[in-house]
Symmetry: C2
Subunit: 237 residues, 2 copies
DNA sequence: CGGGAACTTGAGTATGGTCAATACAAGTGG
DNA sequence: CCACTTGTATTGACCATACTCAAGTTCCCG
């Protein structure tokens, strides 16, 4: 949304040192392949609120998120927004069958991605079925998450939505940074609302309600789970 | 739901004659591969309401839908149901990363599937990256559909949901059987409600409203689009 | 400090849900 | 062939959850 702070680092980085080496698509590559792969990607930084790619844009690149959080969303013509997911380090973005992106992606806070031009990436993948297999696995896992989210959007109450979101978000952070009852929420209330199919007011009220009941504590930039069991009960599986 | 009418046909069928040959996963196979592939799949029939597989079941097979319509759904512990999709001929079901199905699948009406045991299918796929690529394409396309559906569930009104569903369902049938303003709806109102995140009453009321406004005509086992433009306007993109 | 964005809180309302009655269609058996 | 059952769909009356609109608060950043 802001003026572009995009910066391309011209000199290479080493994939072997990469923070997401073990969890991203590149986890499927052996050291020799990694050496070659290194030349395909460019590290690119984005500032808070910047758009990395937009829905309907022709796909020229794929992206491997290295650092930061992104919101992935779709807009209706009248401006209503549905956030279809939040991306965290290790997530691979940009695959599609139509040649165009089917959602938009913004940086929430500062973000670093590893950007791959589509054609060379495709060529590299030819003859490396283990990479394709890895990408397929990630796609299938995402599909499973998407279905879970459909259940949330279609069949859960506001309280359940918020509680489920907090637990699910914590779970994702746990697998990246280890366990903690302090859950940072880098996204805005509006982002959370658009993710859960609610309004910002309902999200705010529900947070306050959870706090009044002693289930959470609202802290700066996030929440603290004071009574995880109670939140789990509210999430109702 | 009924007593099982499952029937396994012992003698082989010919993939080359298969109705979904050109649109299913097998579209990626050449005639020689197809000959081999033929021995992997078994045609299995299911009667109306029968469950083909259930969420949390250990995955032992994959399924290629040949004939009929299936509902794919998830249940909450208290029984609330979200239908995450309807499967039509050509759809490939059962892929997952956890070793367990992540949704349940019922036959709506009579159904024929081509069933593949997981292990032999996996072995066949090894060394045939074009098949893996095909499966990946299908997964990515489904992911895109899933995201569209999230927008519908999270951000659309009841009227928009119903109108969007009718148009989307027609579109899918068009690509299978050709264009028509008569749209068969083999699924029940309850199924439609659970797909759209509504109640059966709201779906029924909305159908009636669309009919009163001259947009559709409710016919036995489906609807007829009397004023497609008006339905499109209601779908609001 | 002052201005602005993000968030919270309140009051009133609308959309879609709940509960209940009725209609309709298809199948079963006398 | 008709009474009866069963399951599905429609319609109505009422209600609750979450939305809208509006004001007020907090926090950050210049």
């Amino acid at each position: 949304m802001k003026a572009s702070m995009t910066m391309i680092e011209p000199n290479g980085h080493f994939c072997s040192d990469c923070a997401v080496r073990g969890i991203a698509v590149c986890a499927s590559l052996d050291p020799a392949e990694l050496k070659e792969f290194e030349h395909l990607g460019r590290r690119v930084h984005f500032g808070a609120g910047e758009t990395v790619f937009s829905e309907e844009d022709i796909t020229t690149s794929f992206y491997n998120l290295l650092e930061g959080v992104m919101r992935l969303y779709k807009l209706l013509p009248d401006g209503r927004r549905q956030i279809v997911g939040f991306a965290l380090p290790g997530d691979f973005l940009g695959m599609n069958t139509s040649g165009r992106h089917n959602f938009s992606a913004d940086a929430i806070g500062a973000v670093t991605v590893c950007q791959f031009a589509k054609a060379p990436f495709g060529r590299f993948m030819e003859g490396r079925p283990h990479l394709l297999k890895r990408i397929n696995e990630l796609a299938i896992r995402e599909l499973s998450q998407a279905r879970d989210h459909m259940v949330l959007l279609g069949r859960r109450s506001a309280d359940e939505k918020v509680a489920t979101f907090l637990l699910g978000w914590r779970e994702r952070l746990v697998s990246l940074k280890g366990s903690s009852n302090t859950v940072p929420l880098p996204m805005s209330r509006q982002d959370i609302a658009d993710y859960l199919g609610l309004t910002i007011e309902t999200v705010s009220r529900t947070f306050t309600k959870l706090e009044r009941h002693g289930a959470i504590e609202i802290i700066h930039g996030g929440i603290s789970l004071r009574d995880p069991a109670r939140v789990e009960a509210l999430a109702a599986a």
